[in-house]
């Protein structure tokens, strides 16, 4: 059984209809951290939701300029605020995170108030009391603010293509998940930005606050009773619909299409980017999920993996090579950056290694290293709040058991036969290559 030091499984309470508080009570950090996640479908309103994130992050009714809000954060000894969107399967997540010092600063540890309450209150204000037209308490959001953030969102969407490895990854996912919500960029689409008007955003905001399933993650030096009280008093907003909503499982696994597709595109790049997408109809809540994770880990999970050891270390074809299992989609994704002339050879090598691992031939060194890595990660999860949040958010979003020790034990029990069961249905869906201009041979 995996060993851990200190608490890593949160205490969870429903603090309002459809609002779950997950508390990690600890005194080892100098700052408190709170994240509020609102769940919604990834679909037609994705762009409006990502615009809403930018608007919420920029100003509130009480702090009506970006400067005023920045000063409020500075007064909390450099609190850091981030409101953003992410995606998990068919779900879009509106994520608001605040981290602020509570140790080594005045009033840091005062119970029932002090800096913990001040931080939660500011986060609640950011989420629930946006800047509205003419300073009113209701109605459309502030038009100038929305217009500014529309321009910023368009700029962000435009700039995404500048990151070439990321662009290759996104394009492969788009091709592999064509027709599914997951194909959509979490930030949305440029052409939908103009339709997200101040009135549209106000309605969306009110609806999300009233009905969206909400997860609140809090890491602080506070007990559960006090945490519930302080979250209810300072963070939560009025007007929740009186229904207890639980987010549905976001998993959308399906078998691969009959024939794999090869997509080759050109851009102004020095290095070729190869991205591969395989599918296996393993749902996130399936008993085979640990075996799928082992498959991905042995294949490309770290420096011990087959991708790293063979493509980089043995053949010196690349600097980076990795793979991961996207549990919400039943997708195995791998990426390698190579000299363009080495693309055909690397492609054959990568696909050969995928077949090797899928057949249940698990390199014992890689398998042991993957398991040891999972155990170590679990043992130190309480040391690293970013990792803890990522773990817990991922598991709660998919409706899975949040206990990391049980996950590590399940990984330990995976046998080659179980990996083979996943691999039997693993099919290449898309092989994508982003290559320098002029390097693709044209047909007659």
């Amino acid at each position: 059984m995996a060993q851990v030091a200190g608490p890593i499984v949160p205490v969870t309470r429903e603090v309002a209809p459809g609002v779950r508080l997950h508390l990690l009570s600890t005194d080892r950090f100098t700052t408190a951290l709170c994240r509020v996640v609102l769940h919604r479908d990834l679909g037609a309103e994705a762009t409006a939701t990502s615009l809403l994130a930018l608007v919420l992050q920029s100003a509130t009714g009480r702090h009506p300029t970006r400067r005023a809000l920045a000063h409020a954060l500075a007064d909390l000894y450099g609190a850091s605020l981030q409101v953003t969107v992410s995606k998990a399967g068919a779900r879009q997540l509106l994520i608001s995170t605040l981290e602020w010092p509570t140790l080594g600063v005045p009033d840091g540890r005062r119970r029932g108030g002090g800096r913990l309450a001040r931080g939660l209150a500011l986060l609640g204000e950011v989420l629930a009391r946006p800047k509205r037209q003419a300073g009113r308490g209701s109605g459309p959001l502030d038009a100038d603010l929305v217009r500014t953030e529309q321009v910023n969102l368009l700029r962000m969407l435009c700039s995404l293509a500048d990151d070439k490895p990321r662009r290759a990854w996104v394009r492969c996912v788009e091709e592999a998940c064509r027709g599914e919500p997951f194909a959509l960029e979490a930030l949305g689409r440029a052409k939908a930005v103009g339709a997200a008007t101040p009135a549209v955003l106000a309605e969306l905001h009110a609806r999300l606050l009233a009905t969206a399933p909400v997860d609140v993650f809090l890491v602080a030096d506070v007990g559960i009773r006090e945490a519930v009280a302080v979250v209810r008093k300072h963070l939560l907003w009025p007007g929740r619909a009186q229904l207890s909503v639980r987010p549905p499982v976001a998993s959308a696994a399906r078998p691969a299409r009959a024939r794999p597709r090869r997509v080759v595109e050109e851009d102004d790049v020095q290095q070729g980017q190869l991205v591969f997408a395989w599918r296996s109809p393993v749902r996130a809540d399936a008993a085979l999920l640990p075996a799928a994770a082992v498959l991905a880990g042995v294949f490309g999970g770290g420096t011990y993996s087959r991708l790293f050891q063979v493509v980089r270390e043995k053949h010196a074809l690349c600097y980076h090579a990795d793979a991961q299992w996207i549990a919400a989609q039943g997708l195995l994704l791998a990426q390698v950056g190579v000299e363009p002339a080495d693309e055909p050879r690397t492609r054959r090598l990568v696909q050969g290694l995928a077949r090797e691992v899928a057949s249940g031939r698990l390199d014992p060194v890689a398998l042991d290293a993957y398991r040891a890595g999972v155990r170590a990660q679990v043992a130190t999860l309480g040391d690293d709040r970013a990792a803890w949040l990522a773990w817990l958010q991922g598991r709660t979003t998919l409706g899975l058991d949040p206990d990391p020790v049980r996950w590590a034990d399940a990984v330990d029990r995976v046998t080659p036969a179980r990996v083979r069961r996943v691999g039997r249905n693993l099919r290449l869906e898309v092989s994508y290559a982003l290559l320098p201009r002029g390097s693709v041979r044209r047909g007659p």
């Binding site: 080892r28 600063v105 100038d144 770290g302 011990y304």
Partner: protein
């Protein structure tokens, strides 16, 4: 030889103990036990970095030598050290900066054995010519990866405009052609010279016992080849800039503008930390989110969240950098220059300094939130000969008058612009949504 002694010190904000010692063979050691944490992080750093371009015997080193050696250090005759760490559930890593090269592990158990592995690995270079040839190809792909990173390329263009002769003009990893000149003999010479114990700093933070760290260090680090005591030969560098403006076209969607202010490098120690703190406060008050110039440019619609400012003082160079992705290069330059001039005239207020000071303290508190950031902070301080409480004390001494004086000094320094232009087909100027806000200067 006298028995090494542990000296207890205290980090001033969270009041955490830090123990210092020098190993029997001269390696500097810092240990920070962190009760409650399960993880341990160790960083072993050599003073040797990418700006060190000569051996004491006069041999010139090709660009990328320090980084090449970093790639090779974990390669051993019986396999590589990453594999050893992987098998134990630990994680190994390494990185090279202008002024140092560092080797890292983090683990959740068996930290003594992992420390032995780290110290043993960095003490001996065990590669052959085939390893060098193979690693050259891998590094070639790393260089190609950074060539596709527009931020990195823009930053390099700025450094090449700011500096006339200094090796900081070269990419830390070198170039595809410069690494062709790196061979086994050269790497052996570099290792023997700059990886001697007295040129190394070890910081360990987390679930550790200080006296055990010292015992492991004494047992595992041997003098070996004696090596020269590290002393960076200052590069000859005029005060002025090489070019006031450079332009390049990159495959980007919007232009990126970089402004560099070339500072006079401070000496390591107290002068360095004083400079870093005061310049940090200048940048916070003007350019950080909510800062005077950031707010003005943001409200004018000239910048977005890509706007960024930083100060770097390391390896005999010092400069402040302000950068942003923009739609209109000329408008951004004009307004940034005007706002900077206005700030120099008006000066910084006490309220602004206090707000920036709070932010800086919050940032320092974050460094104590885990073994990795704490160990990084300890190593950086040791390499630059900065005491644990130096930065907090300097923050306490900062006043509006002193911060304003630093602003005026910095603004008067030679400056260079690097303009990274988008190709003509990029979507520049296509970000208008509806009519501009009433009264907007756009």
């Amino acid at each position: 030889m006298t028995r090494p002694r542990l000296i207890r010190d205290r980090e001033p904000l969270a009041r955490r103990d830090v123990f210092r010692a020098r190993s029997r063979h001269g390696m500097e050691i810092l240990v920070a036990p962190m009760p409650g944490f399960a993880r341990t992080c160790a960083i072993l750093a050599s003073h040797f970095g990418s700006v060190d371009t000569r051996l004491p015997d006069g041999r010139t080193l090709p660009a990328g030598t320090a980084h090449f050696l970093e790639h090779e250090m974990f390669q051993k005759a019986d396999g590589d050290v990453f594999t050893v760490y992987d098998a134990r559930g630990a994680a190994g890593n390494a990185y090279t900066t202008w002024s140092n090269t560092a080797y890292v592990f983090t683990c959740s158990s068996d930290w003594e054995r992992n420390l032995e592995t780290l110290l043993g690995a960095v003490s001996r270079l065990e590669i052959d010519q085939d390893d060098v040839l193979r690693e050259r190809r891998i590094i070639g792909q790393e260089i190609a990866m950074y060539d596709d990173d527009p931020s990195w390329r823009g930053y390099l263009h700025l450094l090449q405009a700011l500096y006339v002769d200094h090796p900081v003009r070269q990419d830390i990893a070198g170039t595809a052609s410069s690494i062709e000149g790196i061979d086994l003999d050269l790497l052996r010479g570099v290792h023997a010279t700059w990886y001697a114990p007295r040129n190394l700093v070890l910081a360990v933070a987390g679930r550790v016992l200080p006296d055990r760290v010292l015992a492991v260090a004494d047992a595992c680090v041997h003098p070996g080849v004696r090596g020269a005591r590290y002393r960076r030969v200052p590069a000859r560098e005029p005060r002025g800039v090489r070019r006031r403006e450079v332009r390049a076209v990159l495959p980007i969607s919007r232009p990126t503008v970089w402004l560099g202010l070339k500072d006079v490098p401070p000496r390591p120690g107290r002068a360095l930390v004083e400079r870093q703190v005061l310049t940090g406060l200048v940048l916070e008050t003007l350019f950080d989110d909510g800062g005077r110039i950031q707010s003005a440019l943001y409200d004018e619609g000239v910048i977005d969240d890509s706007f960024h400012a930083t100060y770097e003082a390391e390896g005999g160079v010092a400069h402040a950098v302000v950068s942003a992705e923009v739609d209109d290069v000329d408008a951004f330059r004009r307004r940034l220059t005007r706002h900077l001039r206005d700030a120099v005239t008006a000066g910084i207020t006490e309220a602004e300094v206090e707000r920036a000071r709070r932010r800086a303290l919050g940032g320092r508190l974050r460094m104590l939130n885990g073994p990795e950031p704490f160990a990084r902070w300890l190593v950086a301080g040791a390499l630059e000969r900065v005491g644990l409480d130096a930065a907090v004390a300097a923050l306490g001494r900062a006043s509006a008058r002193r911060v304003t004086r630093r602003l005026r000094e910095l603004a008067a320094r030679p400056r260079a612009w690097a303009i990274m232009e988008a190709p003509a087909t990029a979507l520049t100027g296509a970000h208008q949504v509806g009519p501009p806000p009433t009264g907007s200067p756009r």
